[in-house]
């Protein structure tokens, strides 16, 4: 709770920095507050308190995800240094980031459908603005619009689903809904089922799972790269945290009914995302499709819904997000032309950082001993425990396809540069971002128990 309050106040402070002219220090304030909020979350560890008449519940799940979001934000700051250069807009950006972080924390801690909705709206509305924040680029405006319209549309689905659930159960509170469903398990009204389907549809939109993914590539491609990094890591993690929390606490009793939906969505997302990524020549777009594909694996963890899937989700999200942030650092430095060819010669100029990026790429491809491998492994394990054998086979095939295009990135980095080509060069902040993400990736791979068994 203290974490949430700190982050919300931080957002207000960022706006006030515009009024009271302390914009220069806002970054320092931001770092201090986010670090402080992380510390507060760590201090609360092991407790489980409910606030505001059971609106939010800060249990270990919520705290673990909050810490994840905050730490990712701190790493993200490194790669987005230049994004905050403009004195005019920096207060706004910091405010938007803080608010969306507050939304993310709410999404990991809600215990009431109305809070769920508020969280998702705070998160999304900030993200719409951020997507369009490069005002000089028409593609950024296009991205914002393309993000906003499906986003608003999916919100409609979510609201309708919530209304149906409320209509059937008479409550917004997750535990009340769960109790009601357990009590009426034998003859559930169709309204509940319809509500669940609408909720799933809305959430699949939000996490850009197939077949509701069409907005994602353009949005990821058009947004300023730091924002893309933010969207494909923290926002995605928050959406999944909410997805899992909602379904495990409300609808786990009727899991047999809705898991097939998720499994099918997961299967086509994994296969479709990876196959489409193979055909991309633009690194940013490739990462966008790979991000869609990763949603598929995570959906599998949600569908498995057993004791293992909770740590599986947390681990996968941590591993994926950390590696993604490192990759996006590179994309960010590539400027406006993110063709894979432009990477040629990178390894020759920056052998050390090329090696680190290779590490990150391999982690995303799911190769031991890196974090991404354990994420996938964990997801597969929990799915097999829930007897989802064929989806695991699909997932394994999909990750093989993934290996192909991840290797293309590595291959290009180590190829000889074309004559007169401008080779990507990294700034100090970029280097530290890549170093930190690579170290974390390696650490989580060697000692996965560090975060795997905390929740």
């Amino acid at each position: 709770m203290n974490t949430l309050i700190t982050v919300s106040l931080l957002g207000i402070a960022a706006m006030l920095s515009e009024v009271f002219r302390f914009k220069k220090f806002i970054q320092t304030v931001f770092i201090a507050a986010v670090t402080g909020a992380t510390g507060l979350a760590v201090l609360d560890w092991g407790t489980s308190y409910s606030y505001f008449r059971f609106m939010v519940l800060f249990d270990d799940y919520a705290l673990a995800f909050s810490i994840l979001f905050l730490v990712l934000t701190l790493i993200w700051l490194l790669l987005s240094q230049e994004y905050f250069c403009n004195e005019n807009t920096r207060a706004d950006y910091f405010a938007l980031i803080s608010f969306s972080l507050a939304g993310a924390i709410i999404l990991s801690s809600f215990s009431d459908l109305s809070m769920f909705f508020i969280g998702i709206e705070i998160l999304s509305v900030s993200a719409y603005v951020l997507a369009g924040s490069n005002r000089s680029d028409i593609r950024s405006a296009e991205a914002a619009l393309k993000y906003f319209l499906p986003g608003a549309f999916s919100t409609g689905f979510l609201l309708f689903g919530m209304a149906l659930i409320y209509g059937a159960t008479g409550s917004f509170n997750l535990s009340n809904i769960s109790l009601w469903i357990i009590a009426n398990h034998s003859n559930l009204p169709v309204m509940v089922n319809a509500g669940v389907v609408f909720l799933i549809t809305g959430l699949l939109f939000k996490i850009a799972a197939m077949p509701f993914h069409n907005w994602a590539p353009d949005v990821y491609d058009g947004s300023p790269t730091p924002v893309t990094a933010y969207m494909s890591t923290i926002i995605k993690a928050a959406s999944f945290a909410a997805f899992y929390r909602l379904f495990v606490s409300c609808f786990s009793i009727m899991a047999d009914w809705w898991t097939p939906l998720l499994v099918i969505a997961a299967a086509i997302t994994m296969i479709g995302g990876n196959i489409t990524a193979v055909y991309q020549n633009n690194l940013k777009r490739m990462l966008a499709y790979s991000s869609i594909a990763h949603s598929g694996y995570l959906l599998l963890a949600v569908a498995a819904i057993n004791q293992l899937s909770k740590p599986a989700m947390l681990f996968y999200l941590a591993a994926y997000s950390v590696a993604s942030l490192g990759m996006f650092t590179l994309v960010n430095r590539m400027g406006n032309e993110q063709q894979l060819d432009k990477l040629k010669g990178f390894a020759h100029d920056n052998p050390f950082y090329a090696a680190l990026i290779t590490l990150l790429t391999l982690s995303m491809a799911g190769i031991p001993p890196l974090a991404g491998f354990f994420g996938k492994y964990y997801v597969f394990l929990s799915s097999i425990r829930s007897d989802l054998i064929w989806p695991v086979i699909v997932a394994v095939i999909a990750s093989l396809i993934g290996v192909y295009y991840y290797f293309r990135i590595v291959y290009n980095m180590y190829s000889k540069p074309a004559a007169s080509a401008h080779v990507v060069s990294l700034s100090g902040f970029d280097k530290s971002a890549i170093l930190i993400t690579a170290l974390l990736t390696l650490l989580l791979g060697i000692a996965p128990a560090l975060i795997a068994d905390i929740i």
């Binding site: 207000i12 515009e18 009024v19 706004d92 209509g167 059937a168 009204p189 169709v190």
Partner: protein
């Protein structure tokens, strides 16, 4: 009862809307002419394109108005039950208004209220 009611609602909604359009198509004789297909602008001919850009100030004003509009929506239920809710609620409402005021300050400072 509940489910069949929804079903009936859906069916009747589809029938009603689709039926209206269909009936229009079938019954009305279509005789298009140039005058008919023009936009009705109080009888006056339109000048220029209809895709004019409005001054962005309109939107900013509308948005700020909307914030205070929504604020009132929150204040009404509180005002109705103010007595039962007591001091705590009063303080909470004041905090709420204060945060909104800070937002207003920000908007002002950003020049949102300046007409360009």
């Amino acid at each position: 009862m509940g489910e069949s009611a929804i079903l009936v609602l859906i069916i009747s909604a589809v029938v009603f809307s689709a039926g209206g359009i269909l009936a229009g198509k079938l019954l009305v004789k279509s005789k298009p002419s140039k005058v008919k297909s023009e936009a009705y602008e109080c009888g006056v001919q339109t000048i220029g394109k209809s895709w004019v850009q409005f001054n962005v100030g309109y939107y900013l004003f509308a948005l700020i108005f909307l914030i205070f509009d929504v604020e009132l929506v929150f204040l009404y239920p509180w005002a109705v039950a103010a007595k039962q809710l007591g001091w705590v609620a009063l303080i909470e409402v004041i905090i709420f208004l204060f945060i909104l005021f800070l937002g207003f300050l920000y908007a002002h400072k950003k020049g949102a209220l300046r007409w360009m």
